[in-house]
């Protein structure tokens, strides 16, 4: 058993060395270029970030007609906004928003892998990919939410969405009370990746 669960003492360095060697060989052999990986990373660092999701949520908070449309035909509603080209690109081919409302809280999970709405939120944080979260959120979402600081009324329905098909789900959280006079920028600052997957509320301290 000890061998099964022992990590090498140079765990991270050996992975870093191996991936560096692999990338170098793939460049030398003409599979990718010397810039491919950096360009992929730049795409996610500069364009496909949670800023897109923040804009979508604040639009829904400030435009009730948009809020109604975005949960019915999410791609069509998103095409109205000033967002980067590629919202229907990789892992955004079939986006689907669900909205929290009084008495209903949505939670998005992926028990089989890590399906995530890349164009809306960028790449998934580690907690979303954690087997413990994926396993427990399916069975005991209320307990899991309490542990991470989301206290819901006992009669609030929790809708858990397991991303096993083609859709990539995200949550429109509820607009916090007392934000009527906030600017759009102030409102956007309340919206976290976690609140758009349902493991936090908008405006919840992080």
């Amino acid at each position: 058993m000890s061998e099964q669960f022992a990590y090498p003492s140079d765990r991270e360095q050996s992975s870093a060395d191996r991936v560096a060697a692999l990338e170098r060989l793939l460049i030398e052999k003409g599979v990718i270029t010397g810039e491919t990986v950096d360009k992929v990373l730049a795409y996610f660092e500069s364009e496909m970030t949670p800023l897109n999701g923040q804009k979508i949520v604040v639009k829904a908070w400030t435009d009730p007609d948009f809020a109604a449309r975005v949960v019915v035909d999410t791609p069509a509603a998103l095409s109205e906004l000033d967002l980067p080209e590629g919202m229907a690109g990789a892992e955004g081919e079939h986006l689907q928003a669900v909205a929290n409302e009084p008495g209903v809280h949505n939670l998005v999970i992926c028990t089989l892998c890590s399906c995530f709405p890349w164009p809306v939120l960028g790449l998934p944080p580690y907690w979303y990919k954690d087997p413990v979260f994926r396993a427990r959120a399916a069975r005991e979402p209320r307990t899991v939410l309490t542990e991470v600081g989301v206290q819901l009324a006992d009669d609030t329905e929790i809708k858990v969405w397991d991303s096993s098909g083609h859709s990539r789900w995200f949550v429109i959280p509820e607009r916090p009370a007392g934000t009527e006079h906030f600017t759009e920028e102030e409102l956007m600052s309340l919206v976290t990746t976690e609140s758009m997957m349902g493991v936090a509320l908008a405006g919840q301290p992080v």
């Binding site: 170098r24 992929v40 690109g89 580690y126 396993a135 069975r139 979402p141």
Partner: protein, 244 residues
């Protein structure tokens, strides 16, 4: 029965949860993520994708199919102890580097010879390769195909199939043999990257099926008003004959 298919609902796991909000916890993880995306964007199957990418004209030496199904099949084939032992991108690195060795792109000897080599990675290469990868990211690879002719209607009670485990599945194990209610039929049919061996691959309708916690977890269901929705291919649904 594969543990990875039955992750949803597994009991006895650590509590309380804390959320690791970083996307990458080590710098090297970014590199394997980028390599995986490049492979998806250069995959030979993209010539038959909905934006018919001119993949055969892209000047890359990559000449294989590589999709999410490739990565997932590898993860589902792992020793389940290892699945829990290794971090997300450690699993990617293991699966992807093994693929390149198995397919003859690189050898273990070549990798070993470079370990600890301080020389910087080479620069250059044909920019048309990168243009294809970014074009794939912007335009995607939708599985939607034909107009659907769904067998089931909204409101229908359905029982989830309990077929033998394939090498890969999109059926969460905890739903097997459980009963639920169809709440939505998506427009169109949806293919899958591969034929998984458990019924999906060819274009077919996809449904949202609603389950009660009591149906899924019995007396050990968490108290409270919870509902679980899963998005399921038609092949995973069976009709329930109404008792006459």
């Amino acid at each position: 029965m594969k543990l990875q298919h039955y992750l949803g609902g597994l009991e006895g796991l650590p509590a309380p949860l804390t959320l690791e909000k970083r996307v990458f916890v080590e710098e090297w993880e970014k590199r394997i993520f980028g390599i995986h995306v490049a492979m998806m964007g250069l995959s030979t199957h993209l010539d038959s994708a909905l934006p018919a990418y001119p993949i055969s004209e892209v000047p890359t030496e990559f000449r294989d199919e590589w999709t999410w199904a490739s990565l997932r099949t590898g993860a589902e084939a792992m020793n389940p102890f290892d699945y829990f032992k290794f971090r997300y991108y450690e699993k990617w690195l293991g699966g992807i580097s093994q693929f390149f060795v198995d397919q003859g792109y690189v050898t273990e000897q070549e990798i070993s010879a470079l370990i600890g080599d301080p020389a910087p990675a080479p620069v250059g290469g044909d920019p048309a390769i990168d243009e294809q990868v970014i074009d794939y990211l912007r335009r995607g690879d939708s599985p939607r195909r034909d107009i659907a002719h769904p067998k089931f209607s909204v409101g229908d009670p359905v029982r989830i199939a309990d077929v033998p485990a394939g090498s890969h599945t999109r059926l969460p194990g905890y739903l097997r043999a459980r009963s639920g209610t169809v709440t939505r039929i998506f427009e169109g049919d949806y293919g899958y990257f591969v034929h998984t061996g458990d019924g999906i691959g060819d274009p077919m309708p996809i449904y949202i099926v609603e389950f009660t916690p009591e149906e899924l977890w019995g007396v050990r269901a968490e108290p409270g008003a919870n509902t679980l929705y899963a998005e399921l291919f038609e092949a995973y649904l069976q009709p329930i004959e109404e008792a006459k």
